[in-house]
Amino acid sequence: MPKADELFKSIDYAPPTTGWMETPVDFSPGNWCYPAKPEKIQYMESKLPGLWGEAREWSPGDEDWKLPSNWKEIVVNGFRERLDKFRTLKLFMDICVRCGACADKCHYFIGSGDPKNMPVLRAELMRSVYRGEFTLAGKILTKLTGSRVMEEDVLKEWFIYFYQCTQCRRCSLFCPYGIDTAEMTMMARELMHLVGLNTNWIMEPVSNCNITGNHLGIQPHAFKDIVDFMVDDIEEVTGRRVKAPLNEKGHDILFITPSGDAFADPGIYTFMGYLTLFDYLDLDYTMSTYASEGGNFGSFTNNETMKKLNAKMYAEANRLGCKWILGGECGHMWRVVHQYMDTMNADLQGDQMTTPVNPITGTVFDTAAATKMVHITEFTADLIKHGKLPLDPSRNDHLRVTFHDSCNPARGMGLLDEPRYVLKAVCNNFFEMPAGTTREQTFCCAGGSGLNTEEILEIRLRGGLPRGNALKYVQDKHGVNTLACICAIDRATLIPLADYWAPGVTVTGTHELVANALILEEGEERTMDMRMEALPGYEDEDDDWTPPNM
């Protein structure tokens, strides 16, 4: 792994001397994610038949990818079928003028200089086949129109580059026609899945989600153990033993967050933040082990799997008799909830479900009337606005905070101001990263859409350059030491990214900071934050300090 400044120096934006169709693809290790274990494919094939190709051991580094003999027919027919099912695909195949406005908008291009990471060329990998296989002009004029027929090399190139797109949609924002590379990446992946080209870092979470309810494969009793540990930790920090209801019937609200929050630092502190907040409010809610995943890894495979995994949310709300769903901090979960959920699964909503109402403030969330699902920062912002949360932001004074907009809520939803409102209410030192890197122009953590895997770490760190560099800027200028976000993938991937590009910055969820600042009872004294690190003024008392409950 090169050092940060070496990597930076290695970036060259000059295109190669060979045309892109003639430039060979590098299949050396580090350029691809590991393929799925056969048993994961077999399991999903048993649940959603016909979508996965034949399960097998194979490696992208090998010459022979063990494709089925009729692979070309499968891919071309699948392509044709999707042109009818998705106007986006058909239209985006035809109307790109290759103006290049998107070219330097992709974080992977900015960090790698590889022209096939320019969104325009990434999409051309697919468009060239579309023209060659489906249009008359492309069939006659071939190279002059940039068309080619589907060959094994083309499919292999797809595998590398469509698993080097995080579907962050930054290019789409800048495209004069709104061409959405995420949409084409989704289609390319659907087609690749049909012939068994996949990655384990997506397929294992998908199959886990279906079996256990969450992508990590945490079984229900283990999930309860984790939550119990967190309850203990909260008690140690706050002196309050919080309720953490699981799978309980008869509550109004079902709370679903990405399971990454239950798994590792720093997500668990965010989870502790939710639990602390809900207990303070005495909220009538439950969590579920069966629907213990907000994130939808199915959306990285095909729309059928996305639908199947998403359906659990409504199914569980019905079983438990909940009226509406409160959703935790997660990026792509919220794109699925916001843009797909009601369309896919509205028929599964039970009669008991109603337009969400905040029971503390009485606010009716009409904006969520169809999905019955509210984002936690909307919920908390509403509480803060109505003065329902006594807050002591000085408890976060040791933190100098900036905010990372997650791509999906930013460009697939428009959730920008609520998290900022919450953050500014709970901490005194908030600083924005430079314009052009925030809000709808935010840069991806480079680990979204199932790319959060170690075997492509250099690619991720390269893709993380734009975010890391903006972070470095506020670190140098304002002494920022904390990067807040509202996405579980961010909480996992931004840590190595910050260590590499802006060492010294830690990553936090927004509700961790809410819990830090939340005054649970009058006169309460807090000596440490949710991470059990001493608050300013209490550092020296570490040795003889005893938790209040001991």
Partner: protein
């Protein structure tokens, strides 16, 4: 290379009517048959492409949002109505801004890498060149095309006369120079130059990217040549064009060959249009990331091919994990699931 091929093609295209009219005297063929056929191909090709797009489903509402959405508390969190529209009217304004002002392109930035004493810096600066070139080109082309209505309509509508007056308001030369003529040539040259000089853009350019630019340039130059240098017989041309519109074809003898070259190139452009990237013109109106309101959480929307897929059933889940669930004290729907196999 791709640019040279395109240039060569356009040259060949100019030669066809040059010889066809001058040597072979095929005036009716080039003055009537070709343009009429081209127009028919254009209309049918254009319409069938748009209908073909329209036949494909829009299963999900996936607008790319650029700004704050309509919040539960619109006072506290002010909605960015035209980049993140929530209603049909707001979406309409977004589309108008997109189509008439190229708003997304206006946002364009350029990235650059710098090594400073404080370490590496990735910088972004606003880059409106492409926006400017595109605006000059498209508006000039649009005005020039509208001005041509003078040849096809009798009486000439007031807005065409008005447009001509404004377009020629600088009153340079005789006949008066139209700003749009200069703008069209400048716009094409700027876009062409960008494609040739910018290595990154050049790398992604095919013949099919250069060809329409050269073709439009040739159309513009032949038009300018006719008007300012050859000073063709406009009365005779109007006679011909009115004949086309009224289906009573006449080809007056006084029309010079430059007119036939111009008409032939325009015909080629019309034929080429429906099969090329030029279809971005109707396509921009249909782009699902731009032409739909961002209201999917508030309003139900139907996917016409929504597959019938159910989630992994909770009952199966409880069957599988019932024993450890019971041990952990998690509630069960069916208490039998909590019994170890030997008890059951």
């Amino acid at each position: 290379m791709n640019a040279l091929y395109s240039l060569l093609f356009v040259f060949l295209l100019v030669l066809i009517p040059l010889f066809g009219v001058d040597a072979a005297h095929m005036k009716t063929f080039f003055g009537v048959c070709i343009p009429v056929t081209a127009f028919i191909i254009f209309i049918i090709g254009f319409a069938s492409k748009v209908i073909n797009w329209g036949r494909s489903a829009v299963p999900f509402r996936i607008p790319t949002t650029g700004g704050q959405f309509k919040s539960f508390d619109p006072q506290l969190f002010k909605q960015n109505k035209y980049d993140c529209p929530q209603t049909g009217a707001q979406t309409f304004v977004r589309m108008v801004l997109e189509v008439f002002a190229f708003r997304s392109l206006f946002r364009n930035t350029e990235v650059s890498l710098h090594e400073t004493k404080d370490g590496p810096v990735v910088a972004y600066k606003s880059s409106k060149w492409l926006w400017l070139f595109a605006i000059i080109f498209h508006y000039s082309f649009f005005i020039v095309a509208l001005r041509h209505l003078r040849l096809f309509l009798e009486p000439v509508p007031f807005f065409v006369n008005g447009l001509e007056f404004v377009d020629g308001i600088l009153q340079i030369g005789a006949p008066t120079m139209y700003m749009a003529d200069a703008g069209l040539v400048a716009g094409v040259l700027l876009l062409l130059g960008r494609r040739l000089i910018n290595a990154r853009i050049n790398y992604i350019s095919y013949v099919s990217d250069f060809f329409p630019l050269f073709l439009i340039l040739a159309v513009a130059l032949s038009g300018i040549y006719m008007r300012y240098y050859a000073k063709v017989d406009v009365i005779a041309i109007k006679e011909l064009t009115m004949g086309l519109v009224t289906f009573s074809y006449v080809v007056p003898e006084t029309i010079s060959v430059s007119f036939f070259i111009h008409v032939f190139l325009v015909s080629v452009l019309m034929i080429y249009f429906p099969f090329s990237k030029l279809m971005h013109m109707p396509g921009v109106f249909m782009s699902p990331t731009r032409n739909m309101p961002n209201d999917t959480r508030a309003k139900h929307h139907v996917n016409p091919w929504n597959p019938d897929i159910k989630p992994h059933a909770y009952a199966d889940y409880e069957k599988e994990f019932g024993v450890p669930m019971a041990e952990a004290g998690l509630p069960l729907d069916n208490p039998d699931n909590g019994k170890a196999p030997e008890e059951a």
